[in-house]
Amino acid sequence: MSDAISMMIWSYIFTLTIAIIVVAVYGMATRPNLVKKLILLSIMSDTASLLAVLIGMRKGMVKPPVFPGVTYTEHAPVTQKALEAFALSAVDPIPQVLVVTAIVIGLAVLVFLGYVVLLLYQKYGTLDARLLEKKLRGEI
């Protein structure tokens, strides 16, 4: 594949991911429904994770960062040459590690916010942020 086409495809993918993140932020700012805000928050964090994994892609290196052929019972010592051949074919593991952490923290935040939204609905009977603000001020 020529460099120009490759450049175009990659620019398209990166622009799309960043656009999704920005659209999610826009939606969180403008949608009044709390559940929609929560959904957009999860879309935003997942897309950010996707962006991190994309940055870990290297040219021609598409195998998972796991040394192949090792099981519980088959674990022969590995030569330096095989190890370097593996390291030249695997994707970058560091963005994946960061993404695992980010997913766990994102899930924790999501679970907690889910409880908060649930309780707000139980207590005030609405998920509309504008109505909720009025009810909290005691105007309704």
């Binding site: 460099d3 990659w10 290297r58 998972p64 796991v66 040394f67 674990h75 190890l83 560091i94 695992v100």
Partner: protein, 274 residues
């Protein structure tokens, strides 16, 4: 007024996309399209994790992601697990006055859905346990396995009703107990090696995995089990994966069960109106 504000926000967002993209392409942090060759740190991780020739920095596991997560950067992951624990504890604190345990709630879905859910319900926990137990050999690990297990409890809640799980002895204290047990195992493994080092008067690190020339204490990596031969268990990795699996699956199942309780049930137990 609102329309004008939304339009302004939209234009601003589009501008941010253009600026970010311009900076991303203009900077040399991220090459578009990706260039060849590993980055320096990634090369170090990839070549030292399973290096049988030079064991000074190895983790004894072919899985680089799990090794970085639980060995090279173990303390970070321990704190991450604590954050997850605190989030679930915080959520439970908000709903602490609910007392719906032991009562069947909801009847689930139609007969077809119930049958399918019952078939899938056998397979999903098996896959989850496999992902967790092979965390140091194949892609996956304790957190991934725990999340898959939580999917099975979510399926049971939606397909068969919350009463299905509550009727089989799943209770808040039991699930919280498993959650805490997982965290206790993780923290005791993290402190076991420094404690051993202290007893023998040797250098050792918190959450150290393998023997190092300057810190000669370690968990080992091969074990002989009669009938199975020698198995590769990669030191602390397999135990930490199992503990994390326990913690995440119990914590997420508990969170899902409490979220699924009906509004009337919550009102009757008097948790909200205070």
């Amino acid at each position: 007024m609102t329309a004008t504000r939304d339009l302004a926000l939209g234009v601003l967002s589009a501008l941010i996309v253009v600026i970010l993209m311009y900076m991303l392409i203009g900077s040399h942090v991220v090459a578009i399209p990706p260039t060849q060759g590993q980055r320096w740190l990634s090369w170090k991780f990839l070549t030292s994790t399973y290096n049988w020739q030079d064991k000074a920095l190895w983790a004894g596991s072919p899985e680089v992601v799990t090794s970085v997560l639980w060995d090279y950067r173990g303390i970070d992951t321990v704190y991450e697990t604590s954050v997850f624990f605190l989030a679930i504890i915080g959520g439970l604190m908000l709903v602490r006055d609910y007392k719906p345990w032991g009562k069947p709630i909801g009847k689930g879905m139609s007969l077809i859905s119930r049958t399918v859910v019952k078939i899938v319900l056998v397979a999903v926990p098996v896959v989850a346990a496999s992902i967790a137990l092979h965390g140091h050999l194949t892609p996956g690990g304790g957190f991934q396995g725990g999340s898959v297990f939580a999917v099975s409890s979510l399926l049971a809640i939606i397909g068969l009703g919350t009463g299905f799980l509550l009727g089989r002895g799943w209770s808040k204290s039991k699930l919280l107990g498993f959650r805490t047990l997982g965290l206790i195992i993780i923290s005791s493994i993290a402190l076991a090696i420094p404690f051993l080092g202290l007893l023998e008067g040797l250098h050792a690190y918190i959450i150290q995995n393998q023997w190092k020339p300057w810190a000669p204490v370690g968990f080992g990596y091969l074990a002989s089990i009669p009938g199975l031969g020698t198995i590769l268990y990669s030191g602390t990795l397999v135990f930490l994966n199992i503990a994390e699996f326990l913690a995440v699956s119990a914590g997420l199942s508990l969170a899902f069960i409490i979220m699924s309780l009906s509004r009337e049930e919550i009102k009757r137990s008097g948790g909200v109106e205070k």
